[in-house]
């Protein structure tokens, strides 16, 4: 049982690879503010006061539809946190929850306990503030409802217990350790886990203004290689494209740009030649399956 396999990433900030993650996600400023402030506050309070006074578990929870930037924000948090710390350093660790849960039968609980109460704490023994990402945490903290008990092996539920116990122990033992959990499926997550979150931040799909900002940012980033795209990003007609893509998650909005480029062979050869019309056609193309899905379900409103 090699718990090293369960650590996807361990990295100390500042690290240039993480410098742009935070800015690459376009969301309402309040979302980023809440996440960063909750991390800073957690470190500030938990270093001074015992758990009984703060009731802070050192757990932040990001939830919302897929593709809205939750994981990227969590990955970028340590980089943002580093300059706020006394040692100008923060660490980022990413755990692989699926690897944790797909071990041989009956082992999940032990692996979770060993990983979260022995291995991770020993990695952070130097006291440097550390963000640990539990991405798609619904596989680790399954809701213990009747239906779930029928569908999931008992081992999975014991693993949930192990996660909760580990969070409780680490809360007071390691005040410099912050867990950030993300999920697309809040209904499937154990209530006791959710109640332990110091902050639960909804990261929604972008509104039309948000979509527009994402489109501009995507074109702007690509203009480094194809300068003409910078001009396209300033065209006011982009608003029509944004309206056409309203309700779509940020990741898919970004992919619409490359989808637009493959609409004509000329734009594959020269992406800088991309036009607003190309983007509008792409928007219709990518929305098409959704229109079909809505029709089949009787015109159900909304997408996410």
């Amino acid at each position: 049982m090699d718990v090293n396999d369960l650590i996807k990433t361990e990295c100390k900030m500042p690290d240039v690879r993480y410098a742009n993650l935070w800015d690459s996600i376009i969301v309402d400023r309040s979302i980023k503010d809440r996440l960063l402030r909750s991390a800073a506050l957690s470190l500030r309070l938990r270093a001074e006061l015992p758990f009984e006074a703060t009731a802070l578990h050192g757990l932040a929870f990001l939830y919302g539809p897929p593709g809205t930037g939750k994981t990227t924000l969590a990955r970028g948090l340590a980089y943002q946190l580093a300059p706020l710390t006394t040692r100008r350093s923060a660490r980022f660790i990413e755990i692989n929850p699926h690897g944790l849960m797909s071990s041989e039968h009956g082992q999940s609980q032990r692996r979770v306990t060993e990983l979260l109460t022995e291995h991770v704490p020993s990695m952070v023994d130097d006291g440097i503030p550390t963000v640990v990402l539990l991405d798609e945490v619904e596989s680790m903290v399954v809701a213990r409802s009747q239906a779930s008990l029928a569908a999931n092996p008992a081992d999975v539920h014991r693993a949930t217990d192990a996660v909760l116990t580990a969070i409780d122990s680490n809360a007071s033992a390691f005040p410099h350790l912050i867990f950030v959990a993300t999920s697309n499926f809040t209904g499937a997550i154990d209530e006791a886990f959710l109640s332990r979150a110091d902050v639960a931040i909804h990261v929604p799909a972008p509104d039309a203004a948000g979509v527009l900002a994402i489109l501009k940012a995507t074109l702007g980033a690509m203009s480094v290689a194809f300068p003409a795209l910078a001009q396209l990003s300033r065209r006011p007609e982009l608003e029509r494209v944004a309206n056409a893509l309203a309700g779509m998650d940020g990741r898919r909005v970004r992919k619409t740009v490359s989808e637009a480029m493959l609409g004509r062979i000329e734009t594959v050869i020269q992406p800088g030649d991309l036009t607003v019309e190309d983007l509008l056609s792409a928007a219709l193309r990518v929305k098409q399956p959704e229109l079909v899905a809505q029709a089949k379900s009787g015109g159900r409103n909304g997408t996410n």
Partner: protein, 161 residues
């Protein structure tokens, strides 16, 4: 957070080897801290040389074990013998929390029946050894980190802009 580590003695290994492993685990854990000089742990455990081996062989460390207590550290080490030793899954890595150990660490020795007198005599030879009952949990004093704090308030003020 209270932790327990198990070490296997006979038949897996002799009592003497088990005691050596136990001493090494204590040293590896405590000497991660800049406040605990390398080699100092072995020196403080020297009064237990031989006696520790006898405690292991006599099964006196099987139930209550030794308890190491320091700032944020509460570690029980039990040494198992006979059939129980066969099932031990050892974790001999340094125990988390060792890096914030202080030079006020204390190793609590259990009562050992016929060897109680020998244990009491040994405990008198080091300020780090005690035959008292250990506290139930580690002291939660955060002065080691708290005096510096983790967050730079000036940098935090910069966020307000």
């Amino acid at each position: 957070m209270e932790r327990t580590r198990l070490i296997a003695a006979a038949p897996v290994r002799s009592a003497s080897e088990a005691w050596q492993i136990l001493s090494t685990l204590l040293a590896d854990t405590l000497e991660q801290s800049s406040l605990v000089t390398n080699g100092s742990v072995a020196t403080e455990l020297a009064p237990l040389k031989g006696l520790g081996t006898a405690l292991v062989a006599g099964g006196h460390l099987e139930s209550k074990g030794l308890v190491l207590v320091d700032n944020g550290l509460h570690l029980t080490i039990r040494v198992l013998t006979a059939d129980a030793a066969l099932d031990v899954e050892e974790n001999l890595n340094p125990v988390p929390g060792g890096a914030s150990a202080t030079d006020g660490w204390t190793l609590y020795l259990p009562s050992a029946g016929p060897l109680d007198n020998a244990v009491k005599l040994a405990a008198k030879k080091s300020s780090h050894l005690s035959t008292n009952d250990p506290p139930a949990s580690a002291p939660t004093e955060k002065s080691v980190r708290g005096s510096h704090g983790l967050i730079d308030l000036d940098a935090l003020r910069g966020l307000g802009n």
